[in-house]
Symmetry: C2
Subunit: 216 residues, 2 copies
DNA sequence: GGCGAAATATGCGCACACGCAAGTTTGGAG
DNA sequence: CTCCAAACTTGCGTGTGCGCATATTTCGCC
């Protein structure tokens, strides 16, 4: 068929996964997050309720996934795409900021929706952990012969910093419900991300400069 | 009464919380983790099943809490107790290693139990997040006039590194009994913690040396 | 010492997450 | 083409997490 690589199976899986994401987000947007049951999402996607939980382990996960899907691989690709002569810290920072400031077309009102419900906020924050493994691989590639464990720790730290930044962002986004204006004027997300990642710069630099064993 | 501080309410809360922890761990040890229902734990602690979920939000949390309780405040206190002239990085590292290598009397077989069940492993790893806030406060105290946000990020990174170390430790603890194929260097938990925290040393040093605003 | 407000404990009900054991589909080997 | 094994889906049953309304306990205050 039109598919090049062997994998009709895999295509179907990705299709249902995306169908579930889209259905979950659409229903949550048009009815509000609390008026959507998993059965509704499953039905809208044309699968059994049980199958839903084979793809997502919580009700909020599918909604959030519509926004955060592929964020991990995107960040990893962005890091890998930086020219080899830029500092690792800069590359990582730019890649992160780039991915988190380009929510694309469908993401604007979706993010507003997420701000609404505490459960969705937590799910959104948890989704940050998904960048850890791809980012670890990307960092490991950059560091060449260094211990992969170090890359792993650095990636986890970056993810943790992003988590803190997003937490702060959501927090002040929720606390500023003044006029009800959907616009969140306060500290911009890029600034928050830069500020949160700044303290890690020395660690990333050190890992890059000293490719040998850590220290005695 | 014998209580000094105002708080009979608080005392009772702590009492039931500890009763739940202890009951959960005891039952899990004598019957195996899968043969313990929340109703059993609640009954053993003398409270309603509903009340259990006012204290712990999952079945595993109580069992794990019996081992990890107060770990956050312990770490924070240990950091605060270091003499003022030692480097922050060293202080944090020593405090962490100290707390995670002194599981005390009741912890040995409990940790073995946790190794058994994947659900318990995850709960144990999630419990690592509890050190973030206390540690952030402790680091903030050390850094004096610096931006608290930086301390927050550093604490989150440390917690993430500890998480990675524990993950690796549990993983090889679970894989080792079966043939022990791929044995990794640095088998002991203290070594793993030191190795995981080492890459963050430059970040902690930099935060300590430059107490003024971040940059630019 | 007693009283009103706040915090906590409990019962009820619902939706959810997931293990298990079928049925159903896919990919490949002969 | 056929058939088998592996992967995926589905229905069922159970235990669980938690919102809500209510009863009970604790605290501050006079």
């Amino acid at each position: 068929m039109t598919t090049r690589r062997a994998g009709l199976r895999e295509r179907k899986k990705q299709a249902t996964r995306e169908a579930l994401r889209e259905a979950a987000l659409r229903l949550a947007l048009e009815r509000g997050p609390d008026n959507v049951r998993v059965d509704d999402i499953a039905e809208a996607a044309g699968v059994s309720p049980r199958t839903y939980n084979n793809y997502f382990s919580s009700r909020e996960e599918a909604i959030v996934a519509a926004v955060t899907a592929e964020r991990g691989s995107r960040v990893a690709a962005a890091v890998a795409a930086r020219p080899a002569d830029v500092r690792l810290a800069d590359g990582v920072l730019d890649a992160i900021v780039e991915q988190y400031t380009a929510p694309g077309e469908p993401g604007r009102d979706a993010l507003l929706l997420i701000t609404t419900s505490p459960a969705l906020r937590n799910a959104f924050l948890d989704a940050t952990a998904a960048i850890e493994h791809p980012l670890a691989d990307a960092i490991d590639d950059r560091l060449g012969g260094t211990d992969p464990f170090t890359a792993r720790v650095l990636a986890a730290s970056v993810a943790a910093a992003v988590h803190v930044a997003l937490e702060r962002w959501l927090q002040q986004a929720a606390t500023s419900p003044a006029g009800g204006g959907l616009v969140v004027p306060a500290g911009s997300l890029p600034d928050l991300l830069r500020t949160a990642l700044a303290p890690l710069t020395p660690a990333l630099d050190a890992a890059e400069v000293r490719p040998r064993r850590a220290e005695h």
